[in-house]
């Protein structure tokens, strides 16, 4: 019991830094840190010399100079008189737009394919296996390029939509027609979709440093209110079910609460759709969605869905057969078994790899640069870098922004993951 006291009291010798495992880790860390600092100093010295040679210095003041280039598709107001920082923001919003839509669409498609792959229908499950293998084993860039080329080269030119007087007289149809009840026109220049217009907006209030769009605020408030009431309704139904054993009928109340207020608001605001129409050589009105956006979104969705399908399949297969059998033994019907027993458990297996697929999709939006989509790497890493000649600043700023997007997504999704994981004590 007196082992500790009997340890020989050695005096510290320098050789112990190498031969004594208690101290060796300090030596190694000191050496590593020293080498690391040396590396940093060496890199910094090289940067300094290189910059001197080219007569440059590091500064990010170029962000507040006039950009002077146009961006085909912008989600926030932008002209070429705006500064580079504004162009950066345009690129960032474009990146986020593709990533957001892509994550939602890829999840839906991926879940459908993953479930169909497990279907006991031989033909369907084989078909889905072919889909997954084909899309997973071919570079994403191929899907991006192929969808872009098909959209830009096989779609009709705007003039093919024209109905001339002679054609009308002869009763001939034009070479191309608009789809979705004459509201959407897919041309070789882009996709023309109707744009929502409000007759009576609420205007906006200027708070000095930022202007608040009241219409937007009203829409957000109404939706938030609906969702809150819907959740109240659900929790009330659950309380009633738990105390009486009978669940009150809620479906028509849910529909009413979720959709009536927003429809009423839209009527009050005077919502109507501006449909694109052919005028002269091009379509006027509506919104022109660039093919680069559509192609990138399509390719990212199809490619990532193949990976998500595998994750979903793996997650469902990971739940032991006994769980389903136990649920059947309790008298649950197949769809209730799926929603109450299998899915909640499968979700725990599915979510962590799903997070990394979302991250991959977000990072892969940078492939848009191959089809001149104006995302972050197209504006900041492309034209701004080229025009200002500030390679180091632009590239590192771009990396920092991507890094913070990635970290934010993984933080949010990990928080969600923690909320669905099994709470083990």
């Amino acid at each position: 019991m007196t082992m500790a006291a009997e340890l020989p009291k050695e005096n510290f010798r320098l050789s112990m830094l190498i031969f004594d495992t208690r101290y060796r880790s300090y030596t190694i860390q000191a050496v590593v840190l020293g080498l690391f600092i040396l590396l940093i100093v060496w890199l910094g010295y090289n940067v300094d010399r290189n910059l001197d040679e080219r007569g440059k210095e590091l500064s990010i003041s170029f962000l507040w100079q006039r950009a002077g280039y146009d961006i085909p598709q912008t989600l926030i107001p932008y002209t070429n008189d705006n500064v580079h920082f504004r162009a950066l923001l345009v690129g960032l919003t474009n990146t986020l737009a593709v990533a957001f839509c892509g994550c939602i669409l890829a999840t839906i498609l991926g879940v459908v394919i993953g479930v169909l792959r497990l279907s006991n229908n031989w033909l369907v499950s084989r078909l889905m296996t072919v889909y997954v293998e084909v899309f997973r084993n071919v570079p994403l860039l191929l899907w991006v390029l192929l969808s872009y080329v098909i959209l830009t080269e096989t779609m009709p030119a705007p003039r093919d939509f024209r109905v001339t007087d002679e054609m009308a007289a002869a009763g001939e149809a034009p070479a191309a027609a608009m789809s979705f009840f004459d509201t959407v026109a897919v041309t070789n220049r882009g996709t023309n979709v109707p744009s929502p217009l409000l007759e009576r907006g609420f205007g906006s209030v200027d708070l000095g440093f930022v202007s608040v769009n009241l219409t937007f605020l009203a829409i957000v408030l109404v939706i938030a209110g609906s969702v809150y009431s819907y959740r109240r309704l659900k929790s009330h139904a659950r309380t009633v079910q738990e105390s009486t054993g009978v669940r009150p009928v809620t479906w028509w109340k849910s529909l009413l609460i979720l959709f009536a207020p927003i429809i009423a608001l839209m009527i009050a605001l005077g919502l109507h759709w501006e449909v694109p129409v052919l005028k002269g050589f091009n379509f006027q009105g509506g919104i022109l969605v660039a093919h680069a956006f559509t192609a990138l979104l399509l390719a990212l969705t199809l490619y990532t869905a193949a990976f998500i399908a595998e994750i979903v399949r793996g997650g469902i297969q990971a739940i032991s057969r006994g769980q389903t059998e136990a649920a059947f033994a309790l008298g649950l019907r197949p769809n209730r078994t799926m929603s109450l027993v299998v899915l909640p458990q499968a979700l725990r297996v599915i979510i962590p790899p799903l997070i990394s697929q979302f991250l991959n999709l977000t990072k892969n939006t940078s492939l848009g640069v191959a089809i001149s989509y104006s995302d972050l790497s197209g504006t900041l890493g492309g034209i701004t870098r080229n025009q200002t000649g500030r390679e180091i600043e632009c590239v590192f700023l771009m990396m920092a922004i991507y890094l913070s997007i990635s970290l934010t997504i993984s933080m949010v999704m990990n928080w969600y993951n923690r909320s669905v994981q099994l709470k083990a004590r």
Binding site: I28, Q29, L116, L123, V134, L141, M398
Partner: protein, 480 residues
């Protein structure tokens, strides 16, 4: 009472009803079991019929010999009738070389990449099929046949032809006598491959490899005296000194004394699948050791080492590969000495290796964490030091359970090699295809080149994933 007839033997069992056997039963169970299933079957059949209806004639009417797209269309119209669609693969004939080697790689030297590619499998064989003489023989004979054919087609000079055949024959002999010695060829292969692809004097790769010899010799003699880690450090320092000071003059002198060299091909002349394979194989080879070190560093209990590894891994995993390629193309030059001459491909290779290593480290971290704690404790109890414990106990198990994930990250890396087109390297998918589509003769072609490149990538990636399944089964030691 007379019994008119009594059966004395058992009747053979009657066949089940038609609905319960054969194809009908299978169809009823697998395609038509429920109403939903019937609907799905009908939908899937309609889809397959639609696709086949549209694609089959297109493939059937393929044209392989024509001078231009217009000529192709004319041939299709003449043979299959006006308005028929047909694929035009004739572009492959003039552009085949560009797709495989890049449009700038010297035509007279195309036998070099061909030879290097064949020898790659010879070098990989001892690792892929360790100790399996039968598989080794199969691989070697396939490679020998491949080399005979392709070297002839690429009109290689007779001397190269003879040397290559001699080399393969020698290796076959070694594989029959002492298969484990084949690893030496694997170790020497990087230098040989570098010399074949980039050309120049043969002495530079030989002297550079000698640096590793210096490292090993010093490590071997010093490790009994001063221990494992300090000896390794001393070896590394000596090797670096060798490369910094002894390398260039020695190679120059040797070249003057015995000149052996090939036509030098600068990196910017590389293209096509040659480029994709060079980037993919280099990234895979070098990322493995770096990834292992990073994963071990991240598991280590030394806070500074751990922190540096975490920052490196998470930064690289958090940004898209394209930004790293931007770094390679525009920024890395600033961080290297002004007099250093790193060409674009080399800079891209460095960044791609870092990228792959970070992903690999994350994969390995998972497997290291998945190993039972008892394995670490058992290694400690046996009195193994850190590196021996890792090498003999931990890593063999960790690498084994992470094989599927490692292979899928390699597949990802190989697919990602196409992104180098962003920094103006001529990879096959966009670089070369773009050239084809700009060619006056082939303007307006799009399905065929993309399908061609896609099929080749598919074959590589699908092959790798199948191999990983095989390896997983082969290395499985638990009995379930």
């Amino acid at each position: 009472m007379t019994i008119s007839y009594t059966r004395t033997d058992m009747l053979p069992a009657m066949a089940p009803p038609v609905s319960q056997r054969g194809l009908v039963k299978w169809l009823r169970e697998n395609m038509l079991s429920t109403r939903l299933n019937v609907a799905l079957t009908v939908l899937a059949t309609a889809f397959i019929a639609f696709v086949a209806w549209n694609i089959f004639p297109w493939f059937w009417n393929s044209v392989w010999n024509a001078g231009s797209l217009a000529e192709c269309r004319a041939i299709v119209a003449a043979s299959a009738g006006e308005g028929a669609s047909g694929a035009c693969w004739a572009f492959l004939k003039p552009w085949w070389g560009a797709f495989i080697f890049g449009h700038q790689y010297p035509v007279s030297d195309r036998w070099r990449p061909v030879l290097a590619f064949g020898l790659l499998f010879v070098a990989l064989a001892p690792i892929l099929f360790a100790g399996q003489r039968r598989n080794l023989t199969i691989i070697f004979s396939v490679v020998a046949a491949y080399l005979l054919l392709t070297l002839y087609l690429a009109s290689a000079p007779g001397l190269a032809f003879a040397l290559a055949m001699l080399l393969v024959a020698g290796l076959v002999a070694v594989s029959q006598v002492q298969p484990e010695r084949l690893l030496w060829f694997t170790l020497l292969y990087p230098a040989l491959c570098f010399w074949l692809l980039w050309g120049g004097s043969i002495w530079s790769p030989i002297v550079a490899m000698a640096g590793f010899g210096v490292l090993y010799a010093i490590f071997r003699f010093a490790s009994p005296v001063i221990g494992f880690a300090p000896a390794a450090g001393a070896g590394v320092v000596a090797a670096v000194l060798w490369w910094l000071f002894a390398d260039a003059p020695l190679a120059g002198t040797l070249q003057e004394m015995i000149p052996v060299d090939l036509l030098r091909v600068p990196s910017d002349k590389f293209g096509g699948f040659l480029l994709a394979i060079v980037i993919g194989v280099t990234g895979i080879t070098f990322s493995l050791p770096i990834g292992i070190l990073l994963a071990l560093g991240r598991q280590s209990d030394m806070p500074i080492v751990k922190m540096l590894c975490v920052i490196f891994i998470e930064t690289i995993r958090g940004v898209p590969l394209i930004t790293l390629l931007f770094v390679a193309a525009f920024v890395l030059g600033f961080f290297l000495p002004p007099e250093a001459d790193f060409d674009l491909l080399l800079r891209v290779l460095i960044l791609v290796t870092f990228f792959a290593a970070a992903y690999l480290a994350e994969v390995l971290r998972g497997s290291l964490a998945a190993l039972p704690r008892g394995q670490y404790e058992a290694a400690d109890a046996l009195g193994l030091d850190y590196w021996r414990a890792q090498r003999l106990i931990i890593l063999p198990q960790a690498l084994k359970i992470s094989i599927p994930a490692i292979v899928s990250s390699f597949i990802g890396l190989f697919k990602d090699t196409t992104l180098v087109v962003i920094v103006a390297l001529y990879e096959p998918l966009k670089g070369i295809t773009h050239l084809v589509r700009q060619d006056v003769n082939w303007k307006g072609i799009y399905w065929e080149p993309y399908i061609f490149v896609g099929v080749i990538f598919f074959l590589f990636c699908f092959g790798m994933s199948r191999y990983s399944k095989y390896l997983e089964l082969k290395l499985k030691t638990d009995h379930r």
